[in-house]
C-alpha cells in the first residue's frame, strides 16, 4: 500500500469537498458474519483427494546426462547413411542429353489465341412436333398390342367355327361315334370342346351369355384356357 498522504494529497487537489468527507462505509454486515464465513466456505468446497502427481515409470540411471550425446550420434549416423557411394560422388550431375535450340524459349510456350466461341441459337421446339411424337408412340403401342394380344376375327386355329361345323353336319356324323370315345377326345383336346358343345341348331347369343357370367369367373376362364 502506498502512504495515505499521497492519495489524500491527490484528492485534496482534485476536490477539497470530497477529501473532507469521512471514509466510512455506512453499510453493515450481520453479526459474527466474518467469524463464521471461513467454516461456511470450507463446508461448500467439495472434498477432493489430492492427486499424486508423481509418474510411476522409471528411467535408467544417468539417462538424461548422456541423452544429448546419444541424439547427436544418431544424427551423425543418419547423415552418413544419406551420403552417396564414392563411385556416384565422382560422376558429374550434368545431364548428357541435349534439346533442340530454342526449345525452352518463351515463344514456344505461348498459349494459342483463345477462340471466340460463337453463340448458339436455341430454336424453340414447335408444338406440332410434340403431337407427332405422341402420335408415333400411340401408333407403336397399338401395333404392339395387335401383335401381342389374340385376334377375335378369323382364326388360324384348326378347331372349327360354329358355321363351319353346322355346314358340315358334324352332329349327324358324330352320332354314330361311341360316347366314351367322344368324352375321351374332349378331355384330351379341350379346345375342341367348344365345337362339340355347340352342336345345336340355335344361334348362340354370345353377348347375353357372357353378360351372365361373373367377371371374376370369366377372368379365371381366360387365364386357365390356353388360346
Amino acid at each position: 500500500m502506498k502512504s495515505l498522504n499521497e492519495i489524500d494529497i491527490e484528492l485534496q487537489q482534485l476536490s477539497p469537498a470530497v477529501a473532507s468527507l469521512p471514509r466510512k462505509i455506512p453499510f453493515r454486515q450481520p453479526e459474527n458474519y466474518f467469524f463464521e464465513l471461513p467454516s461456511v466456505i470450507l463446508e461448500k468446497i467439495p472434498y477432493e483427494i489430492p492427486v499424486k502427481t508423481e509418474i510411476p515409470f522409471e528411467v535408467p540411471d544417468s539417462y538424461f546426462a548422456g541423452f544429448p550425446q546419444q541424439v547427436m550420434t544418431a544424427i551423425r549416423n543418419a547423415e552418413a547413411d544419406d551420403e552417396l557411394p564414392t563411385v556416384l560422388q565422382s560422376i558429374s550431375r550434368e545431364m548428357p542429353y541435349s534439346v533442340p535450340e530454342g526449345y525452352f524459349s518463351q515463344d514456344r510456350f505461348k498459349a494459342p489465341p483463345a477462340e471466340v466461341s460463337k453463340p448458339v441459337l436455341m430454336r424453340p421446339v414447335h408444338s406440332f412436333r410434340r403431337y407427332a411424337v405422341a402420335a408415333s408412340v400411340t401408333a407403336l403401342l397399338a401395333v404392339s398390342a395387335w401383335l401381342v394380344f389374340p385376334k377375335t376375327g378369323a382364326s388360324s386355329d384348326p378347331a372349327l367355327s360354329y358355321q363351319e361345323a353346322k355346314s358340315l353336319n358334324i352332329g349327324a356324323a358324330l352320332s354314330v361315334v361311341d360316347e366314351g370315345v367322344l368324352e375321351a377326345y374332349v378331355k384330351e383336346t379341350p379346345k375342341n370342346f367348344a365345337v362339340a358343345f355347340l352342336q345345336t341348331d340355335e344361334q348362340l347369343n354370345v353377348e347375353e351369355t357372357v353378360a351372365e357370367v361373373n367377371t371374376g369367373d370369366l377372368d379365371d376362364f381366360l387365364i386357365e384356357s390356353p388360346l
Binding site: 470530497v18 462505509i25 453499510f27
Partner: protein
C-alpha cells in the same frame, strides 16, 4: 500471527496443511474483499453469494496460481469479475439497461434499514451510484481501499493513465452531485 502470502501458499500446497492454510487465507482477505464486493452489489445477500463463489474459485485455482503476481491483486481481480458477472446476470434476468440497474442499486441503498438521508456517508454512496461502472470501480478502489494505480491497473487490466483520468472524472462528478443534493 498473520502469515505472509508466500507462506500461506506453501502450506496450501501440502495436503496436510491445505485446509488450515486456506482458512487463514480467508480470514486474512475476507473483509477487504467483502467490502469491495458489497460497495458494488450493495445488498449483503448478493455480497455474501459473490464472496463465497470467489473463495471457492480461489480454492480450485490456487494450485495453479503463479507467484509472479501478487495474491492480493489476483483476489481482487476475481472478486471484481464475479461482482460484475452478478450485476450482468441481474441485468439480463430483468432485461433492463445498466442505467436501470444503477437506479435499482440506488433504490437498494435507500431501502437499507440503516439509511439516513442526512448523513454524508449515505449521500456519498448515492453519489457513487451515479457513476459509470468503470469510474465507480476506480473510485472505490482508490478512495476506500487506497490502492495504488499500479496495482489497480493489474486488477482492472487498464493503463495507469486511464485509471487516473477515470478517478479524476469520478471525483468531479461526486463533488457536483454533493453540491446539488
Amino acid at each position: 500471527m498473520e502469515l505472509g502470502d508466500k507462506e500461506l501458499l506453501q502450506l496450501f500446497r501440502q495436503a496436510e496443511t491445505r485446509e488450515k492454510a486456506f482458512t487463514q487465507l480467508i480470514e486474512k482477505y475476507q473483509q477487504k474483499l467483502y467490502w469491495h464486493i458489497r460497495r458494488m452489489v450493495i445488498e449483503h445477500e448478493d455480497a455474501n453469494d459473490v464472496l463465497q463463489n470467489v473463495f471457492i474459485k480461489v480454492w480450485k485455482a490456487l494450485d495453479n496460481f503463479r507467484e509472479d503476481s501478487q495474491l492480493y491483486t489476483w483476489l481482487y481481480r476475481i472478486a471484481t469479475n464475479e461482482s460484475l458477472t452478478l450485476l450482468d446476470q441481474k441485468k439480463k434476468r430483468k432485461s433492463v439497461s445498466y442505467d436501470d440497474v444503477e437506479t435499482g442499486l440506488s433504490n437498494k441503498i435507500i431501502a437499507d434499514k440503516h439509511f439516513d438521508a442526512n448523513k454524508i456517508e449515505w449521500k456519498l454512496q448515492l453519489a457513487i451510484q451515479q457513476l459509470p461502472e468503470k469510474q465507480k470501480l476506480v473510485f472505490n478502489l482508490r478512495y476506500y481501499d487506497e490502492m495504488p494505480y499500479e496495482e489497480m491497473s493489474r486488477v482492472l487490466d487498464t493503463s495507469e493513465g486511464a485509471l487516473k483520468a477515470s478517478y479524476h472524472h469520478a471525483v468531479k462528478k461526486i463533488e457536483e452531485y454533493l453540491k446539488n443534493h
